[in-house]
Symmetry: C2
Subunit: 391 residues, 2 copies
């Protein structure tokens, strides 16, 4: 049995996150940051609930230039927010379509607007506006003095580098998913309805200690799958199928994100070669994934191997990404991303290739960037495509 | 074993949804609707994937005034979208921070802008902008002729009334969750770590046939819980605890959403009374939940019973809501919501009350609105608070 990390974080962790944010806010001359997305609100407050799945209510956290975050949230979240380190909690009885937190936000932000202050909001790549657009427009019209500044890169730069506590949680869920994949030969079988394959894997992850398996996608088809983001099809696993499952399981709100490929009963020459090529591409990534390497260089190291077999390099747009509170986080291992890797970033290496008749294969590992060789969090896949129930 | 409904929908279902939308678009003088959120894109296309969990890429579906929807999506989704009834699929290699679908959207919408057309987007209550705000602003600046119209109520009016196929899926997942709760006495026990309580319930739902359990929240404490949206605390279930689990499990992308309360080993007078009051409030709701009743009237019927015990009526803002592709959908059973219930709306009845020393209790059932008495989808809770492992 693996050691289960402590849940939650010491208050010192939140204090440190806040201090880093405020120090960057000073240098960027920001007077505050208004956050409204789940990972950001959780990152600075510790407020952790699946209730975000309900789209009904907006939630706000304000980071002032001095002092602790201020929560402006629906009353239904007050009890849980009081368990966090946040002290200033302002609530309203939501939903309230005519005023879903807007008056409370106006009270908070009016002084900033009057002094022509600079308010950070996240409006850049990979973000969403997690409140009704009409309410946002109304709010901003009422705060004409406010200068809105994109705080995406500020927040992203903090979140990309993980603390020891965060790494421990991600390592734990990677071990759990690795243990679940290790039982592939026992839980997957020829003739299995694909929906049952998914169900068996979810149950195995839970039995191994996962809190949840929010993401599970996969493909299976003779000689290779053609799609990597699907829910299960209605077919049965057949001899000659190449099966891929890609999972984002969670522990205490932190994700793993990796996949594994299997041949059902027997493999085929091309798929075997694709798997070997992807494995070696990952090795090439592992060899350069250290502090100081750029994401672009990491991409190039992997695609250099991929081009042995596939000149297009798949078309998923990148070969891995950041990992943590979300299934996918910044940075992206792609030609456009010049982010320099730093110690304690947690990332995926995810080369993919197209082959045969419209087939695609993906392969993924999760690692912690270090000054030397990376620390593998997922248990390294076999170089050879494994065969389930060979006989 | 229950009959498992067919997955997916016949094309005729999507054609009917589109026809309803286009007929309303004509009467509202809309030239098109641009959608970008998961349930809406899925509703009109059938595109079903958990990949939306990755925040990296935006996805767009355009509903023209005539003809089929047009998908503007990342290349990684093309294979899956080709499985749907959508024919016009335009893709780009995403992520691409400098142009994540924007050029493709401009090509599509420029003619509309030039003729001063009216474009529907969802910007009202319970919506989010599921693309970077900066990209949205850039897009709209480039389309100065466009008149943006809020299409929230148009889309919402379609989605609120469910088809027979949709009801069958929701009924199926409600049966599965009911079967899982029916095993409470076997899977929950005094001394159980609360995280294990959650895990056992998730595994039971999967074993009973759920695809997934995206939402699970709960509370447990001596004499009643104080919070209803929390992940599991680190305590063990104790004799005298009132335990509540609230689940949103899914089948084929459709949710159930209901909760159940249990006393561990023994109950207490106040909690027993609270449970009875909530049960009777739900009866009052069931008695009036039919075509022609407004959501406000439904709220009043339930709160009339609640006030026997609690004058505040909890402060969660409403006593139930719509249910389907999302854990919570419109309408809201609340004083502010004048929506008239129609046949084949699927809704929750969810009275709650505050009692004792800061305790809260919730109680929830899922029903289909009919012309006469509603059809219960969740198996009706016992009037009396059930006791686990009495002895």
């Amino acid at each position: 049995m693996v050691n289960i990390p402590q849940r939650g974080f010491p208050v010192s962790e939140f204090a440190a996150r806040l201090q880093c944010a405020q120090s960057q806010m000073v240098s960027q001359n920001l007077d505050g940051i208004l956050l409204m997305s789940e990972p950001e609100v959780r990152y600075f407050s510790g407020f952790h609930t699946l209730f975000w799945l309900s789209p009904t209510r907006p939630w706000f956290l304000f980071i002032p230039i001095e002092g602790k975050p201020i929560a402006i949230i629906p009353e239904i979240g007050a009890a849980l927010m009081r368990e966090t380190w946040v002290e200033d909690i302002r609530t309203w009885s939501a939903p309230s379509p005519d005023d879903d937190g807007i008056s409370l936000l106006l009270d908070l932000l009016n002084p900033l607007s009057k002094q022509g202050g600079r308010l950070g909001i996240m409006k850049g790549h990979e973000t969403s506006l997690r409140m009704p657009l009409a309410d946002y427009e109304r709010l901003m019209t009422s705060l004409p003095g406010l200068n809105l500044i994109d705080a995406t890169s500020l927040v992203r730069s903090l979140r990309m580098v993980k603390s020891a506590f965060e790494i421990e949680k991600i390592a734990h869920i990677c071990t759990i998913a690795s243990n679940a994949f290790a039982r592939a030969n026992e839980i997957f079988y020829e003739g299995q309805p694909f929906a049952e394959t998914f169900r068996a894997f979810r149950m195995e992850c839970l039995a191994q200690g996962a809190d949840d398996v929010p993401y599970l996608a996969g493909g299976a088809d003779i000689g290779g799958y053609q799609d990597i983001i699907s829910p299960p099809s209605q077919r049965l696993l057949q001899k000659g199928d190449i099966l891929m499952l890609d999972t984002g399981a969670t522990f205490d709100g932190y994700y793993c994100d990796f996949d594994r490929n299997y041949a059902i009963g027997k493999d085929d020459e091309l798929s075997r070669r694709a798997h070997d090529t992807l494995w070696r591409a990952t090795e090439a990534g592992l060899a350069v994934a250290k502090s100081g390497t750029t994401c672009r260089e990491l991409f190039q190291a992997m695609s250099g191997v991929i081009t042995e077999m596939d000149y297009q390099g798949g078309d998923v747009g990148r070969m891995g990404h950041g990992l943590g509170m979300q299934l996918t986080e910044q940075p992206s291992h792609a030609v456009f991303d010049e982010t320099v890797l730093e110690e304690n970033m947690v990332i995926t290496l995810e080369p993919s290739l197209s082959y045969g008749d419209g087939r695609i294969m993906v392969h993924e590992e999760n690692i912690v960037v270090q000054n030397g060789a990376p620390r593998l969090l997922s248990r390294r896949a076999d170089q050879e495509l494994p065969i389930i129930g060979r006989g």
